[in-house]
């Protein structure tokens, strides 16, 4: 009974949070709605005996994804009020289509009882991180390795797309500094009286573009 009440509470909170994301005037509020949604979803996961996934959801979504959103929102400077204009124009058509879709999904869910669902995970069943890990490193080793490749792709992509080598910033090349010898930068000359000096070692440097 307690589980039922908790489910209803989490479900209501998830819907409210998602509603905030959809309707928020300020995207900052939207991000907070997202965090709220995911915290409650984590609660739901734990209720469904997916403790590890629940905690992972908090770590990945609240810890990484929400922060990433906030970071981008802070970096780019936009007039968010302007972005809300014209929202009402899409509302009627969107509402009709989406209600139809929802009705269809619910019809599908309620049309027939789902067969073979009657033995929920028992009280003492092992759904811990250890059980998941045992599967991940044996049967599901292939997708695990692929996940590594996907993350590598994301890393390469983010760097390739956004990293810029700026030419207006001075950089220090420590190896070059250490290897520099007095002879490279200093010439001793004995100019004749009235003859003047030309620096023989010095050449005008050009900024290397890469």
């Amino acid at each position: 009974m307690l589980a039922d009440i908790l489910f209803l509470a989490f479900a209501t909170a998830i819907i409210l949070g998602a509603g905030t994301v959809v309707l928020a005037r300020n995207p900052m509020v939207g991000v907070l709605g997202l965090v709220f949604t995911f915290l409650n979803a984590a609660g739901l996961f734990i209720l469904l005996q997916a403790e590890f996934l629940g905690l992972l959801l908090i770590m990945v979504y609240v810890g990484a994804i929400a922060v990433m959103f906030l970071f981008v929102l802070m970096t780019i400077d936009i007039d968010f009020v302007k972005l809300r204009e014209g929202m009402a124009a899409y509302l009627p058509l969107g509402a009709v289509v989406m209600l139809a879709l929802l009705a269809e999904l619910l019809l599908a869910a309620y049309a027939a009882p789902i067969s073979g669902v009657g033995n929920p995970i028992g009280e003492g069943a092992d759904t811990s991180a250890a059980a998941l890990g045992a599967l991940l490193f044996t049967d599901y080793n292939l997708p695990f390795q692929m996940a590594g490749l996907v993350l590598l792709t994301a890393m390469v992509g983010a760097i390739v797309l956004t990293h810029r080598r700026r030419s207006d910033v001075k950089r220090q090349n420590i190896a070059k500094q250490v290897l520099r010898k007095p002879e490279d930068s200093m010439t001793l000359t004995q100019p004749k009286v009235g003859g003047g000096v030309t620096a023989s070692h010095w050449e005008p440097q050009t900024v290397e573009e890469k």
Binding site: L34, R84, G86, M98, L101, T127
Partner: protein, 104 residues
Amino acid sequence: MFYSITLTHILTLSSVLLVLGLVGIVLNRRNIIAILMCLELILLSANINLVATSHFRADLAGHIFTFFILTVAAAELAIGLAIVTLFFRNRGDIEIDSADRMRG
């Protein structure tokens, strides 16, 4: 554990969440950040489906699937936000409606 809640109820929740995400994409057509957040809602609805089924069928395959979706979602968002940053640098705004250099 649950007294009267069944898999159907949880599927109802995830369907509502999916539709909310889709509505968000339609309504916030101009704001790319909001669209990305709505995509995350859609992924969450799929995750709820998988975890709930896992619970009611006493099968860990759904947990494994969710684990991978979480990983991929983080990677996807990193790429998405990198593209958004690039788009903002080039255009000075993030209105996807104004992304109309190409027509035909």
